[in-house]
Symmetry: C2
Subunit: 235 residues, 2 copies
Amino acid sequence: MPIQAVLASNRLLATLPIEDRLRMMENCESIEVRFAEVLSKPGEPILYAYFPASCVISSVMPSDSGVQLEVGLIGNEGMLGMPLMLGVDTAPFHSAIQCSGLVIRIATPLFLLEIERSLVLQKRLKSYLYVSIRQLAQTATCNRFHEVLQRLARLLLMIRDRTHSDEFHITQELLAHMLGVRRVGVTKAAGSLQHEKFISYSRGEVKIHNVVGLESVSCRCYNADKEIYDHIMNG
Amino acid sequence: MPIQAVLASNRLLATLPIEDRLRMMENCESIEVRFAEVLSKPGEPILYAYFPASCVISSVMPSDSGVQLEVGLIGNEGMLGMPLMLGVDTAPFHSAIQCSGLVIRIATPLFLLEIERSLVLQKRLKSYLYVSIRQLAQTATCNRFHEVLQRLARLLLMIRDRTHSDEFHITQELLAHMLGVRRVGVTKAAGSLQHEKFISYSRGEVKIHNVVGLESVSCRCYNADKEIYDHIMNG
DNA sequence: TGCCTTATGTTGGTCAGCGTACAGATTCGG
DNA sequence: CCGAATCTGTACGCTGACCAACATAAGGCA
């Protein structure tokens, strides 16, 4: 797969002016990443910025005890490495591959150079950062007020949007970590969704059968997220 | 109170080079704001950027039902109006005065101009934005995993830091909104803190007697927040 | 084939926080 | 001085999620 095709499959890079995209092409490389591969650990230096083409990255907040909580889910609509834009070169979260696929990466110094050069890139990254913050706030209230079933439905829909597929690999254990609940809680909620025939799954292979059904179960946070993204990035 | 003295009382502005500060002086005005005064509503245009001198601003995320959740607490260590830096001129949250005092405000177009002109201001605002994001993520996990007593202690300490005072006015009702819990839950937790002689209060007048005690009750999120701020802003 | 690892399902006791409702208590304004 | 508004305290049943432990099931691998 030629690099320009890969570049185009990330929505932040796809709409860059041709000259900016040509420069990016020279500085980027497209690599294949597999499930569970770790891209950054809290406190460690950020070596690359990552733009998912066909993979999904999950950023989780490390906590005192073993508990975790997802603070970001990044597909080809976004990127990993926002701190670089803010003059920080240390990773705040633990980010790992959640769905295997292709990712475009660019070394930190080159990335910073590209930002300086391309006003369009700058603008798009700023917009995306704003969206990320809004979504983080949305997730915070969602985690506080909504119950596991709703939040699981929302999360599955979000993964679907980012993988562009109705089937993906994710275990209940992992979902539990992302939602910040026990595995047992996910088992119950997932069982309920399967019973309703909205989804089916077996040993980590999840299939979504009824998107509308899932949307009706999930909280409005899911739609709120999408509306913000569309409004800011396409509006 | 002369404007330059007010400027110096906001930590983001205090350390600007002299020429930048002089320019700011011309474009800023210092106004007095009182409890419950609303500075911005979600969806409405951002007319000013606000830099607290001696007041405290609280930003809350509006939710579907009546429930609310605080996503930001801004004292003289920060500012309100970050979206402007990201090219967005619409307010995402509901922001209101939590403690009366002085605030420096600058009209949006002038603020954008100042950012362009002053690299130091730019850098400090970027750093602060990064800190805000980290704190938002911290609050998200705190809300998820820690119980009301811990979170109340943390919130009281945060207000103390931002008012620079051991006494301030805040009702249990308001605390409940900020924490996203019922008023009854705050009554119980606050009663417990008062019983321990860490605080005392009556009809919204809260006094903190034992900071160390409060810190021992609160979760580590409080310290984590401070460490991030110090590390990024002063480090 | 059979063991081992991984993934999923179930149960039962416990508890923090919810919803609701009501009861003092203090301050304020007329 | 008295009603009204505001703030704080208490009670009770309910429930979603917690903790811990165990049971089944499905692939991987020797």
